[in-house]
């Protein structure tokens, strides 16, 4: 799809509607600084970025950038508008309200949906952005070209899915529960595995369910528990009291508290420096991105060591491992606290049982405050935050109660104690089953996560494989374009590549005078970096097979002057099929492009200098930019005269080259800095013999042109030089000078076919002529 025209009104620099007509051709627009060139580029970006302009993303532009997007002098009753007409007869427009909200309209409102900014628009300040961007930004810029969106979606969706599965399966929570069970078992029974638990359960099963036929561990445990409960319920009052006291006395509170203290101590000693370290990371993280962009070396915010950016990733991985060990210590601490709380609950519940009867009443006399403290205790508070103060209070208030229970039980019958011990043993065996269940859930959840992660890695590997081929093609184009722009620079093997140590990353390497360089930023000058940035942009644009235009906004200003001329070669060689919009404020380059680019596929337009917001953007009726000179006629006629003379220097040089005008060699740089008078003098001398215009079926000398050259030459000698050197030109003199110069230049173009007299050359190089043959420059007569 090509653009026929871009119309804007009260948008950015424009006032009432102004149209950049292209008729599907490529266009070069010249305009002095501030004439409104970028307003047309802004219109393209406005649609691409859905109502936003990146360069207006600041605090003064308003919530929807309305203060910058809309012409500040727009009348109250008009809307700012953009309208793109395309070569398929359809159009796309946007109406912008004063609050910045916009509405799309037109017959194809999705026409520009696939126009990614980074491959459509290149502005002066963005030329080197690709080179200075991060590897991730480079990858993002390339991704649409790779055509691997579906695989990228698979990779990203599976990455997120693995995280969601981790959360939904409560893997961390289940792991923590398993640790709690293991810790509780360790405290009660020491190290015991599934086989040991099986043996223990088998022995109890034979004892309490002698006629049982169960083979399953869980069923056996259930039957043993039932039998034990029946036996305990059948005990007389005294033995019931003994059973309760036994249960209290078996609580190993001392061991529980010791475990919590050890876990707390381990956690504190590991976590304190970590917290300090993480704080430091937070403080420096903001500056980190900037450092990564500017230099390949950076200081680790955690330890301060200077290290290459590429090593930073592995450094961070080791930091993450440290964090993993802290998480594990947190888990152990949580388990120890959970066991302590469960045991306190057991003591508390037993102390509230009616079976304690008179024993409790007797105890209240000496330990009333402790029993009351235990009754009021909210165990969940300790579970949430178990401080050293809590532990001290438990030791003061609960430990004595357990000691009393132990003392009381000192001489009591062993059969009751055995019942309670067996009850605890079967509970622990039961927990082993729960642990096994949880372990299985964790294993299966982990397996699912591993599969999801493997699929993500597989998709990324596939992306890498396919990307390498496409990136190789783009790299070859970058190198080719570089060679066109810089045939003399020994920079070889310029290539994009996918770093081995990172996904979603692309970088640039090259060989500089035979030595491999990790980045163009290491060796290339700013001008050369900009050249390379332009090559990369153009190579990526060329790779995009969709037919859509490119917009280059003053990009050559950052290129070395010596290489600007080569851009015309690049455009002719590589972009004859693409529609390209070039905006420039470099008059010399504009003239050069006008001479070199084929007028059948290129248009050349000139903007008038911008005056005020109510006048807005205006096209000049001419393409020779003498309006630049005219704007100074009133206030500085000497400056207007000087500008006209400079324009003639610039405009005549390519015409002389085109018509092969021979000038005597001058020493050194003087040879490259000819002035208008030198060219005109020669055009007059040669033209009297060579310049002809059709007259019926024959040709006659083009006397009118020669007279125009003479007049321009004489005024330049008389007034332009005076304007330049003595600054005393009058307005009417400068005005006549400008008109004479414009008039002289117009004689080089045919009034019928509008093409230059130097457009076509015959096979024997005996003459040059315009497209229709109305004008010709015949050699051999000079």
């Amino acid at each position: 799809m090509k653009v026929n025209s871009i119309k804007i009104q009260w948008f950015r620099g424009s006032a009432s509607e102004v149209a950049l007509g292209a008729s599907s051709k490529s266009v070069v627009v010249y305009g002095p600084n501030g004439s409104g060139k970028s307003s047309f580029i802004d219109a393209v970006e406005y649609i691409i970025h859905k109502g936003k302009l990146e360069h207006l993303a600041h605090e003064y532009s308003g919530r929807r950038q309305e203060k910058g997007i809309i012409n500040t002098h727009a009348p109250a009753n008009v809307q700012s508008q953009l309208l793109f007409d395309f070569n398929d007869g359809k159009n796309l427009g946007a109406s912008i309200n004063t609050n910045g909200e916009y509405t799309l309209f037109g017959t194809n409102q999705t026409a520009m949906d696939g126009w990614e900014y980074m491959r459509t628009i290149l502005r002066q300040h963005e030329v080197a952005d690709f080179i200075t961007g991060t590897k991730g930004e480079k990858y993002s810029a390339l991704l649409p070209l790779l055509g691997l969106h579906n695989l990228e979606f698979i990779a990203e969706n599976f990455r997120q899915l693995a995280r969601t599965v981790e959360r939904e399966s409560k893997i961390a929570n289940n792991k923590s529960k398993i640790e709690e069970i293991i810790e509780r078992r360790r405290v009660k029974m020491g190290e015991i595995d599934l086989r040991g638990a099986n043996d223990k359960v088998d022995a109890l099963y034979k004892k309490y369910v002698p006629a049982g036929t169960d083979s399953n561990l869980a069923d056996k445990c259930a039957k043993i528990s039932e039998s034990l409960s029946r036996q305990i319920d059948g005990l007389d009052a005294l033995k019931k009291l003994h059973a309760i006291l036994t249960e209290i006395s078996l609580v190993s509170l001392t061991e529980d508290i010791k475990s919590v203290r050890i876990a707390t101590s381990n956690l504190v000693s590991a976590a304190d420096p970590l917290i300090q370290e993480k704080l430091a990371i937070l403080q420096t993280a903001e500056a980190l991105n900037i450092k990564l962009g500017a230099t390949p070396m950076l200081n680790c915010p955690a330890c301060g060591r200077e290290l290459p950016a590429d090593e930073f990733k592995s450094h961070i991985d080791s930091e993450k491992k440290k964090l993993q060990s802290i998480i594990s210590l947190f888990g152990l601490h949580k388990s120890a606290v959970a066991n302590l709380c469960n045991d306190i609950l057991k003591v508390k519940n037993n102390f509230q049982k009616e079976g304690l009867g008179d024993w409790k009443k007797k105890l209240i006399k000496d330990h009333m405050d402790k029993i009351q403290w235990l009754t009021d205790l909210d165990v969940e508070v300790i579970r949430g935050n178990c401080s050293e103060e809590n532990l001290g209070l438990l030791e003061t208030n609960v430990m004595p109660l357990i000691d009393v229970a132990k003392t009381t039980m000192g001489n009591q019958p062993g059969d009751v104690r055995q019942l309670i011990e067996d009850k605890e043993a079967v509970q622990i065996a039961d927990e082993i089953i729960e642990e096994k269940n949880l372990s299985d859930i964790v294993t299966r959840s982990q397996a699912l996560m591993n599969l999801l992660q493997a699929i993500e890695a597989g998709a990324r590997q596939e992306i890498r494989g396919k990307s390498e081929k496409i990136i190789g093609d783009i790299s070859a184009d970058i190198q080719k374009m570089w060679e066109v722009l810089h045939p003399d620079k020994k920079i070889e093997n310029i290539r994009l590549y996918l770093p081995d140590d990172a996904d979603k990353a692309v970088d640039v390497r090259l060989k500089f005078y035979g030595i491999e360089q990790d980045s163009p930023r290491l060796t290339l000058s700013e001008g050369n970096r900009n050249s390379l940035g332009l090559c990369i942009f153009l190579a990526m644009a060329k790779k995009d097979e969709r037919d859509r235009p490119l917009f280059l906004d003053d990009v050559i200003i950052s290129l070395d002057r010596g290489y600007r001329g080569m851009i015309a070669d690049l455009l002719i060689k590589e972009f004859s099929e693409k529609q390209v919009f070039i905006f420039t404020h470099d008059r010399e380059w504009f003239v050069e492009l006008k001479q070199r680019l084929d007028a059948t596929s290129w248009q050349f337009k000139t903007l008038m200098p911008w005056e005020d917001p109510s006048v807005g953007i205006r096209w000049s009726a001419r393409t020779m930019s003498f309006d630049d000179a005219r704007k100074d006629l009133d206030k500085a006629p000497d400056l207007a005269g000087t500008t006209a003379r400079k324009l003639m220097d610039i405009e005549l040089a390519p015409r002389a080259e085109m018509l092969k005008i021979k000038l005597p060699y001058l020493h050194r740089e003087r040879n490259d800095h000819r002035v208008a008078h030198e060219f005109l003098e020669k055009f007059i001398a040669d033209g009297m013999e060579c310049f002809e215009i059709k007259d019926g079926h024959n040709y006659k000398k083009h006397d009118e042109a020669i007279n125009a050259f003479r007049k321009a030459d004489s005024l330049i000698l008389a007034w332009a030089n005076r304007a330049t050197h003595t600054f005393d030109a009058e307005k009417n003199e400068a005005d006549q000078l400008i008109k004479a110069c414009e008039n002289a230049l117009e004689f080089f173009d045919c009034t019928s076919c509008k093409k230059s007299v130097g457009r076509l050359e015959d096979a024997k190089s005996k003459l040059k002529q315009c497209q229709c043959g109305n004008l010709r420059w015949r050699y051999g007569k000079a």
Partner: protein, 73 residues
Amino acid sequence: MTKENWLEKIIKEFKEQNPDLGEDEINSVSKLVFSVDMQDKELRQAELTQHAQSLLKNFLDNDKTDIKIKHES
């Protein structure tokens, strides 16, 4: 290597590493890879949660878990 080939390679390796997991569970994941849903856009959290719950249901089927424990005990 086609899209199917890279996935097949991953599934084959996964099966070898997890012999106790059945075809149903693995198929539930591999089918998801080439669903339009997965290839067309970045999924929102609600959609991810739905997929995650569905996959977990397949992977953590209670009956299968019990059978395994009974067998081991």
